[in-house]
Symmetry: C3
Subunit: 342 residues, 3 copies
């Protein structure tokens, strides 16, 4: 694709360089080579522009200054990140999949498949389940009974969806994720843990993406729910009866116990843990590796284990770093005091 | 099912309301609607009784006081949690599965299947393996060679059981769990990590339940063992040669390195880590996100990383919260001391 | 195998006992019985030698002292760990697998299989993928399109390898691991998280072993790379565009965000977290449960969250333990000061 063509496609204005060059792929600014397009959207990387070997670079007007290599066409635009994202898609188109139902799949006689679905080999779909139009259930994925999958979903290989799960449209579930397994609940009676039946389900709204090897447990009663547009990373544990709002971000290896409410737009960074029945307010940010045991105010930023206001936690941390030294000083005080008291 | 019928089934005595109402399902006290049964077992939720819209509610005599809605039948019983649990089972019966061996499964010629087993599509069972009567090996699950599975076990879809694993009776393994992979052991020689052969196995006793995407590694020599009635949650890592006692609770995302001994009835809350060769005493409780690097006394409660006595850890935490303020005070001391010394 | 034979095979010299005894298996020194061989390589276990019931024991000359049971043949050698490792292999040979392509596998017409491969039932191999000679793709494993697998690799059951992944020779991938899923990247625009296309791949060099249920995400652009001979344990999250060096050890449940560089020979103990864009120097050691947010010097040992020099972190920890007591002391100072000031 010529630079001029890409510029037009991605709402950018070419400046300088040779716009008749053909672009073949996209790369980051540090490793880009001729015939590649890159992006400069973060001031931190400005220093790499001078030596950039790409043929074209998306950039906002405000970031342009100083030397630009002669061979580099700047693609000036309002939102370089989004323009670059479009460029990546254009230069690296998704492979066209062969949209058919594999003869090596196992589809229950009462299951219903929409038009244009792709069912991979060794995928199995249980009784009374529905796969919406344009959705993919890839190789080895297991869809239980009475499952409803919306349109244009993609269930990657070897994912498992237990009975009664409901998925909206445009949902992506990566490989190895387990949606709807029983929650972890027992009552201890007569020297044994008696299993609490889990008769609820999992409901996942439209445009949710769930990473690889993540577990989302069904409700004991009622549903575990993931709201519209939320994104869950890999190896996350989401226990029974949690309610995750819209556009929530849950990073890798987070663990959310059960019956929690995560507000719209909240962000849980990597490896955050959340205790039972906790409410995390809208747009709150829980920083990496924090342990949340109490409700978090909307919009607040917390850190630590137990998590508290970020600034307060850091002040404590800074104080702790000075503590060994402080202890020396206090010993000296003691002797100075004793001397005065003599 | 009529309220009277359910009361009888669940060892409860109906009081008030209209006991001829038919119950359709179970729900928690906050969301229950007419024709649903609920439970009040925790004093914290007492305030919800007044406005409860359920048709029936299990409750212990001791918790009854104040207003009860006119339309609500109290189901008075000794153990509301267990009575409710029975009610949930009665109102939400498990689906009856079609107990047959799928023609799309791969069963080795030397494998032995007990009566009434269910083998799902694309399940595979290796040479010389045994599946006991009434057990289920669901879609896509892989049972290796020389594996022994007891009676009435349930192996959920896409779980993997490596060679030589032994499972007792009534064992549940959720989807994506990997039982018996090699432990993580190497010897560093001549600039490379040489793999330590893992020739042991995993032994899981009766009535154990293992969550989704959990990993239990085989012993290097000898066995990794999970004792009678223990319950392991999702995404847990249990390393080689660990011995987990009876009725142990291991919550989600815990990691137990290797060669540890976890005593009977111990509880490991979420995301706990345990170092190599550590012993955790019977009925000890390790609180969430703790890191255990030394032996834990039976019956003790520990927290923190490294884990220590819970109260001691909290005292330190409380002190740390006051440290920034304390540092201000100490600065003042210094000037007061200096003034006195002049 | 006779003791004499095993000694010769494993570069050891028999001393004492009855070397004509036949050995049947290997065990650790505490549990070994007659007709078993064991090893004593760590001085900590020396006390067990006296009561050892094994028929033979690998040992270095330097560790021999005091009583040796009459029935025990010492197998004196330079490197008891490696000699024992050879013995374990000899006494517990790996089962010979039936090296054939299952008729129940799904192999794309454009896929190429080398000689002597083993493809298990319900394994599927996508278009244009290559499986090198002597490699195993076990039951239910999914190999995407355009994947290249070297020689003598072993892909365990139900592992998933996404499109375009490249594996070197002698790579082991345990069950449930997901190689090459999309990284976790979004841009927030117009009230939604827009998915960043991930068009890179994963490259795994020779002699790498990856545990069970581990996730290694593909690069957004370019590759996520695991260097020669590195060993990754179970349930590890390795984000997009990380570069892991040679002979690196990553223990269970570690989480490495993205675009990090882990130097050759570095060791990450269990449950370590690493933030985006961090560099960990060659042969650095990050101790268990640490959270690394800044670059780590080569050869250094760090601990804590945020991770700092191990000794410094421990000093702080020791000081913290004394803090509650210190606070009492400071109260007394205050009254002593006030008295002096009167």
């Amino acid at each position: 694709m010529l630079i001029t063509e890409l510029a037009q496609l991605c709402d950018a204005t070419p400046r300088g360089g040779d716009t008749s060059i053909s672009l073949q792929s996209a790369a980051d600014i540090m490793s880009a080579r001729p015939h590649q397009v890159t992006v400069l959207s973060d001031g931190k990387y400005k220093k790499y522009l001078k030596g950039c070997q790409a043929s074209a670079c998306f950039i906002a007007e405000a970031l342009i200054d100083g030397d630009v290599p002669a061979g580099l066409t700047l693609l000036v635009c309002k939102d370089p990140e989004m323009s670059f994202l479009s460029a990546v898609k254009a230069l690296h188109p998704e492979p066209v999949l062969d949209r058919q139902v594999s003869r090596q799949a196992a589809i229950a006689d009462t299951a219903k498949l929409g038009s244009n679905v792709l069912i991979g080999p060794f995928a199995s779909i249980g009784q009374h389940s529905i796969v919406g139009a344009g959705s993919t259930v890839d190789a080895g994925a297991r869809i239980g009974n009475h499952v409803s999958i919306g349109t244009n979903c993609r269930i990657h290989p070897n994912a498992v969806i237990y009975d009664n799960t409901v998925l909206g449209d445009n949902v992506i579930i990566h490989s190895g994720s387990i949606i709807g397994a029983d929650g972890f609940g027992y009552k201890y009676r007569d020297n044994q843990h008696v299993k609490v039946p889990h008769v609820g389900n999992v409901i996942i709204e439209d445009n949710v993406e769930i990473g690889a090897n993540t577990c989302i447990d069904r409700g004991a009663l009622g549903s575990t729910r993931i709201g519209w547009g939320s994104k869950i990373d890999n190896l996350v544990q989401l226990g029974h009866n949690n309610t995750v709002g819209k556009n929530v971000i849950v990073c890798g290896q987070c663990g959310i116990s059960g019956s929690c409410e995560i507000g719209d737009g909240a962000i849980l960074a990597g490896s955050v843990g959340v205790a039972d029945h906790v409410k995390i307010g809208t747009r709150a940010v829980v920083m990496a590796r924090s342990g949340v045991s109490q409700d978090i105010e909307p919009g607040s930023q917390v850190w630590g284990s137990p998590a508290k206001d970020r600034k307060m936690a850091w002040r404590e941390l800074a104080a702790l770093a000075k503590l060994p030294e402080l202890m020396q000083k206090i010993k000296q005080f003691e002797s100075r005091l004793s001397k005065l008291e003599e």
